[in-house]
């Protein structure tokens, strides 16, 4: 991937009391790294503990004076670290250790283990501090109640036990201090205050920016392609064609749909509205913009994939004129770069600033763009793997509403008939979440 020094390994370790968003941060970072093309993996202390000590551990298990339990927990933590080290030794680029790591001793041990195993490894410690009881209660409600530790308890009992568990940790908690000589980031109260200490390096700087912009606001992201274009009708790729008659109808119906989604003026003014600089997207956006009385930002970054010398051809023409390229693309749609054009990997790289912008936003986001671009955006938020990107289904005349939540992403598809304005909705969330939980691997969490 461009702009990165692959030879250096990176280990990121979280620090903090339970329910401070450590797993959330770990997962987000992991997603971001994998997206940028690095081999990244999260190693969750808690999962190791659950596998080895069972899931019936009551809060007493976490009492720092419970020697037997302490030893068991230390052993589990050591195993997690070992697996992380092995992962980095076998081709991994970034290992993320998701654990409480609340004592100086534990951190010192981990830092030494890592530094002794690798020459020139970069370590980064991320401490999440939160004193806002409302935020903590919310975290517990959203993420702990469904935790395997509590599957046999009712929510009230689970919450009480969990709060007791936190009290146990608090007894032994030592915040990171400068004399520990670690590179660290402390984020306090969900980003209200951030301290960055001795963090240098390309990737670590990117992490700092990323973390500074993280939040847990469940804001919706609306993705839609432009209405049907002339080139869509002719089955041609590339070009800068305008909307067909059907496409113009879609633009109208799309505007109606968004008008009903955002009822008040305040909400409308808060919307973050992006489109590309290509005619078909601009015209679709203009119709929507007029109805909602807001202005879209035209970003060249959202222009459709550049098909180079194949611009303006149909697929059969490409197959005829450039049979080798046609074959190559079939085999490796992800990495194949159109001569003088781009590949999907180039696109993924190109849209990174937009992804960053969307991550940062706490207001609803609306994007009217193109198929290949939306495949990339969709994949990132919906947590698809990169190889899936080129074949994701992003049909015309359909609005995809994504609502990323703590550990998963809600999706709703709204198919709009451009002629009749009839709407068909398809939701996908509960089943998806349950399915992913049942196949969740125990030690590591991809």
């Amino acid at each position: 991937m461009q702009g990165c020094n692959r030879s250096q390994k990176i280990a990121i370790c979280t620090v903090g009391l339970p329910a401070r968003g450590k797993t959330y941060i770990s997962r987000k970072l992991n997603r971001y790294f994998n997206w940028l093309g690095y081999k990244s993996r999260v190693f969750i202390n808690g999962n190791y503990r659950r596998e080895i000590c069972g899931t019936e551990c009551k809060s007493q298990f976490f009492d720092p004076h419970n020697e037997e339990a302490q030893k068991a927990r230390n052993d589990c933590a050591k195993m997690a670290l070992q697996d992380l080290i092995q992962f980095l030794q076998n081709g991994g680029d970034v290992g993320i250790l998701d654990g409480t790591n609340i004592t100086k001793e534990r951190r010192h041990q981990i830092e030494n283990d890592l530094k002794s195993q690798f020459n020139g490894i970069q370590t980064l410690w991320i401490e999440s501090i939160c004193n806002d009881s409302k935020v903590i209660q919310n975290n517990i409600r959203l993420t702990k109640i469904n935790n395997p530790d509590y599957c046999n308890m009712n929510p009230e009992q689970a919450t009480i036990d969990f709060l007791n568990r936190i009290k146990m940790y608090e007894q032994a908690y030592e915040t990171i201090t400068d004399d520990e000589n670690l590179s660290y980031i402390k984020t306090m109260n969900v980003g209200a205050d951030i301290i960055v200490h001795q963090v240098y390096g390309f990737l670590l700087s990117k992490i700092v920016s990323f973390i500074m912009n993280l939040h847990t606001y469940p804001r919706p992201i609306y993705l839609s392609r432009h209405g049907e274009s002339q080139y869509n009708v002719d089955d041609r790729v590339g070009g800068d064609s305008d909307l067909s008659a059907l496409g113009e109808m879609y633009a109208e119906k799309l505007a109606d749909f968004f008008y009903s989604e955002f009822p008040t003026k305040e909400i409308k003014n808060e919307i973050i509205f992006f489109t590309s600089t290509m005619r078909r997207a601009v015209h679709t956006s203009d119709v929507v913009a007029q109805k909602l009385e807001i202005q879209p930002l035209q970003l060249k970054t959202l222009d459709e994939i550049n098909v180079g010398i194949c611009d303006g051809m149909t697929y059969s023409e490409i197959a005829q004129k450039f049979p080798n390229d046609f074959q190559e693309r079939k085999i490796n749609k992800l990495g194949y770069r159109y001569p003088r054009g781009e590949s999907y990997l180039d696109l993924i790289s190109r849209i990174e600033p937009v992804i960053f912008e969307i991550e940062r936003s706490r207001q609803p986001v609306m994007i009217i763009a193109h198929q290949a671009i939306l495949r990339c955006l969709y994949a990132y938020f919906h947590q698809n793997e990169i190889p899936e990107v080129p074949t994701l289904d992003i049909p015309l005349h359909c609005v995809i509403k994504l609502t990323p939540a703590a550990y998963f992403c809600f999706e709703k598809r709204v198919l709009i008939n451009p002629q009749t304005g009839e709407i068909q909705q398809k939701e996908e969330f509960v089943e998806e979440f349950l399915r992913s939980k049942s196949k969740q691997k125990s030690f590591i969490d991809l």
Binding site: Q2, D178, A192, D193, F202, V208, M212, L297, K300
Partner: protein, 413 residues
Amino acid sequence: MQQYKKTQYKLILVLVGLPARGKTHISYKLNRYLNWIGYKSEIFSIKGAQQKDAQLDQNIDYELEIDPTNQQFIEVRQQLSFQAAQQLVTFLQNEGDIALYNGLTSTKSDRQKLKSLFKEKLNLEFQVFWIESICDDPQVILNNINESKLSRFKEKTIDQFTNQIKVLAQDYQTLENTENISYIKLINIGKQVKVHMLEGYLCSKIVSFLLNLHANNRQIYLVRSCESEYHLLDKIGGDPELSAMGKQHSQQIGNYFIEELKGNKNITFFTSQMKRGIQTAEIVGDKLGIKALKTKNLDEIDYGICDGLTLKEIAAKYPKQIKERKANPLEFKYPRGESFLDVIHRVEPIIYEIERSRDPVLVVAHVAVLKCLYAYYHCNQISEIPNIDIPINCVIKLVPIPYHCLESRVIIK
């Protein structure tokens, strides 16, 4: 300019810190960056206010007259600080987007007065972001004085200056959360950074930018890819390979760098993904024993429908575009291609990388892209970009130092 988020509100960046903490340096860097990415930004300081005040003795450098016992100078400085704030307000009320304030802000009451002034006088929505530079490393402070202040001392000595700072330090009040302001504290040039209540797209960008700043005066070399087959045919754009002559010149450039870099292998080395860029970089890199990172961000400007044509052909086929381009060369976009503004946007991540690097930087790229990179370091207005001269077979060496940038050019025969 539609591609940059024109924020609905104006932004004021206020610098806080004792003398010799790099405030002016930070303000210059930020101002340069913000103008480069398309905002109308300006600095308002005691120095600036003095230059605009015809009644004052311009032989006295009031910015440096920090003697806490000289009542007359204290009054003049307060007056100038106030004038600067007023000039800032006028600027934002009119065409300005972002204003940087480098005046008297060392105490809570100074800051409170400033906030009130803005609230009172500005009739539009604005946001204030405070940037504090803290330094307790005496060596760093000494370097700072030597590099940026010493030449301006008339009869003062460094010792006098540092003693005066020590007295000022007794009344200095660092930014606190209780003041209810959003801020960033840069401690010992980025060793530690504290951010409080960060809000908004622009402030977020500014923080990312500030995180990369450092005080190493390292060299930046800009080199065009050497002669290509298209050069010989007078065509623009395309993805041609180096001509035989081009390969030879690349060798010579490599030799130049062997001398220049003296065996240093810790070089931040970038090139584009175009054949001529890659080939030039490979030949130069082989000589130095280093490899370039290839990034599409450094690809030449997309000439759209004019790609692969000669200038004569373009004049014949697209006379309307030629006219448009003459009228507004900065914003002109080749149909189905890019404008200089698009290139600036594309090249921005590379600027971050160059800024971040404490090692010498070597960039092998192409005319339009290098114009944009060069402009970041050297030009005050991006409107100058189309006229910048980036000759072929020439190594442009830039060394950014406090407040400006040294430049030297070497033509490689």
